[in-house]
């Protein structure tokens, strides 16, 4: 795909995703004295989540700035994945308010939630590809939030612009040559790279990643994390990721939020932390 690789951001895929063009050129707000005020993409205000009588987390408040990567760390069961799903509006919070991309996601109607989600991407620990379909169809599915309907159910029916956008995303993760391979015939690392391609094909403004390398061997995990953050930073995407790997949290997180016993126990910049500072979260 040499022709596609060399194309600019505003070419083919902007035919598919028109709103993103506005998002890219939208400047940070400017304060009263001309000082840029960082745009907040995700805001949680005293949020809590309960399943029945079981409290997962409570009283969490934070604001995550555009273009920054935030690591959510904590022991198993600390509520990281649930928090991620609440921030995306996949499950409702029990209390409090979530604002996503300057829109109130709490109690939003289904259509509004879908519109909001179409501006974000998700990369999961288990990759979550549809196993029997081709790699290309899986990536085309990443456009369903913008262009639903049978033409995006499989790459064979997809419009040329969508196929090109999907191939371009696959090229970015260096898997363009496997476009027609079945997803269940990929290695773990390849599957996760396809999942990343699916997440970035719609050119999202925010990407949530739930332990993106937890199911990979150490080397594949390193490769996937490096690729993922290269792509995210290239495009100025806001990233929220969970990880059990302290080194990854410190290396890739501009900010680190630590959860323990359902409470926020740590909120610091990645630069200011050492590995030892995070160990307490796992005691």
């Amino acid at each position: 795909m040499p022709g596609i690789r060399s194309s600019t951001r505003s070419s083919v895929s902007d035919l598919v995703i028109s709103h993103r063009a506005e998002a890219i050129v939208r400047p940070d707000r400017t304060g009263a004295h001309g000082v840029p005020v960082p745009v907040v993409d995700i805001e949680a205000e005293r949020i809590a989540k309960r399943f029945g009588d079981t409290s997962i987390f409570a009283d969490l408040s934070f604001r995550l700035e555009r273009g920054k990567a935030t690591a959510l760390v904590g022991a198993n069961g600390a509520g990281k994945s649930t928090l991620l799903r609440c921030l995306m509006g996949l499950i409702p919070v029990s209390e409090g308010r979530v604002r996503l991309l300057q829109e109130d996601a709490t109690g939003a109607r289904a259509a509004k939630l879908r519109a909001l989600r179409s501006r974000v991407g998700l990369v999961s620990q288990k990759h979550n590809l549809v196993p029997r379909l081709s790699v290309l169809s899986n990536v085309v599915h990443g456009l369903l939030g913008h262009r639903g309907g049978p033409r995006h159910w499989t790459h064979s029916l997809a419009p040329a612009a969508s196929r090109t956008a999907a191939l371009q995303a696959l090229d970015k993760v260096a898997l363009g040559h496997l476009a027609l391979r079945r997803a269940d015939r990929l290695s773990g690392g390849q599957s996760q790279r396809v999942a990343i391609a699916r997440a970035i094909v719609s050119r999202p403004e925010v990407i949530f990643a739930d332990e993106p390398c937890a199911s990979l061997d150490p080397q594949a995990g390193e490769d996937v994390m490096a690729l993922f953050f290269d792509l995210a930073r290239q495009d100025g995407v806001t990233v929220v990721f969970t990880s059990h790997n302290i080194d990854h949290a410190l290396r890739y997180g501009d900010r680190v939020l630590g959860l323990a016993e359902g409470r926020m126990k740590l909120d610091a910049t990645g630069d200011s932390l050492r590995s030892a500072d995070l160990r307490g979260l796992y005691d």
């Binding site: 995306m88 999961s124 369903l144 699916r198």
Partner: protein
Amino acid sequence: MTDLPAPSRFERPSAISFLGYAAGLVVLLWCLSGAGFSVEKVMTSPPRFADFLSRAFPPNLSTDVLTRLGWKMVETLQIAVAGAVLGVILSLPVALLAARGLIVGPWVNQIVRVALSVIRAVPDIAWALVFVVAVGLGPFAGMLAIVVDTIGFCGRFFADDMEATDNGPAESLTATGARGIDVVACATVPAAMPAFVSTALYALEKAVRSSTILGLVGAGGIGIELKVGFDLFDYPTALTVILMIAVVVIGIEQLSGYARIKIIGEQR
């Protein structure tokens, strides 16, 4: 080895368990009595069965009988295949409505599931009688009976298959902002496809078995030949029909098993 005593091999049942077992035994005896179970009849039946075999054997393999029965068997398979395929196709939208948590609310799920239970509760031969009244004698009534029977069976199991799929791919597509119908089409249905194929092939086997007896009530197929054979005491022809049914049903089961391995095996 520790000095602990060896645990007992069997546990003494509680009084309630004991009463439960006793009640179960009483119910079984009551059912056997209602079914006219008779040891005497069991003991005296082998000679009668041998008498039937002696009068039925050898089967009637004359060309004209084999030709007539062969065409009836072709009609039987046509009824089964047409009914099963239409039934499977119609089962898909029904299953989408019956599957919980996919595209419609729980009330609709419950109503559709109850309707499917009603369809399954009525035996295929009863559906055939209903359709003979509705559309007249002949294979069309049989085909409609198979369609309805297949919807009752596949609608339920397709819905269960979709509910049992891994939720991960569906969640990932939901996270892209995809609509419910797109998520079902792109994640749920492909994930459930191997189970669909297996269920559909079993439905075809079931349809072939059913279609062989629908003729007993005038709904087409080879069943009518079986009835006429016994009614006229033409046991050699009746035995020929029974053997043909056995060969075809076993053949279809073998083909279905082969197709299942080829289709599902490759998809895993």
